[in-house]
């Protein structure tokens, strides 16, 4: 179950569109430096350029694992806000296709909920840098959620 104070912080964050207090609860969010802002009914996630996230010293480019972590965390936060799950969404599986090198620049991600069942959701995540139409990676994930009302 999501504790009442976390749920309250979540609702408050969404109401004012400032997700920093929510992200401050998640150590891994701080480690990679993810940010989140509301764009109308969508959430836009941002991973500011950081030398600490480099995984390819040749280009240099962001570590593929960090790009994946950024996208997985984006999906989890997106579900936390939109799925009304009674618990923190739990990752079941995650699949990512790398399309272009992720240079050391600001990286963005948005999510689409393809299917919300009672227990499982399917989310697609797209990540890009300069041009939304030229994604650096596409991912999909299944998360386990907890229905608000118990299953019969």
């Amino acid at each position: 179950m999501i504790p009442a104070d976390v749920r309250q912080r979540l609702n408050q964050a969404h109401a004012v569109g400032d997700y920093a207090p929510l992200l401050a609860l998640i150590p891994y969010a701080g480690l990679i430096g993810i940010e989140c802002e509301r764009q109308g009914e969508q959430l836009l996630f941002r991973l500011p350029a950081s030398a600490d996230n480099v995984g390819n010293p040749l280009l240099p480019a962001i570590h593929g694992g960090v790009i994946a972590g950024f996208m997985e965390l984006s999906a989890a936060l997106y579900l936390l806000v939109y799925s009304e799950s009674a618990s923190i969404p739990k990752i079941i599986d995650f699949s990512i296709d790398y399309l272009r090198a992720g240079y050391v620049r600001d990286t963005y991600a948005n999510c689409q909920l393809w299917r919300q069942g009672r227990r499982v959701t399917n989310v697609a995540i797209s990540a890009w840098q300069d041009d939304r139409n030229l994604p650096i990676a596409m991912a999909r994930a299944h998360f386990k959620i907890e229905p608000e009302k118990p299953l019969k």
């Binding site: 998640i26 891994y28 600490d52 995984g55 040749l58 570590h63 593929g64 079941i92 599986d93 790398y98």
Partner: protein, 158 residues
Amino acid sequence: MIDSSLMAMAERFLSALRHCQLLNMRVHQADAGGMTLVLPWSPLLVGNPQTGAVHGGALTTLMDTTCGMATLCSLAQFEVCPTLDLRIDYMHSAEAGKDIYGHAHCYRVTRDVIFTRGMAYQDDPEQPICQVVGTFMRLGQQARGGIRFAGKLDGGQG
């Protein structure tokens, strides 16, 4: 390749990856059977503050690196091999306070592509935290920066 030089090459490779250094990742074992890396547990890796579970992103970083470095075990000479895709199935959460081991090997090497498979575990390899498959592109030794980087890995000045 002799295992001790493979091990040394793997250590040099890992030391060049900034984010892996940030996570204090180390080479545990590198031989013909594959690559094993260690991700020391740290409170900074926690993704669920309620349970203390390590975030999937940290595991993905461990396994992307392990699968990518497993190519070192199967190629005669170093090649730049970027990740084409990666899939992770989460079996159960990682326990707080315990180091995480990532093991991977190549199960098929073709002219252009390398297929890898692996898993992460804590105490018992029979109880994996996650199972992974990853596909990597072979850019060959002619790739930009590839030769110089290979030189550095061999212990030369590049």
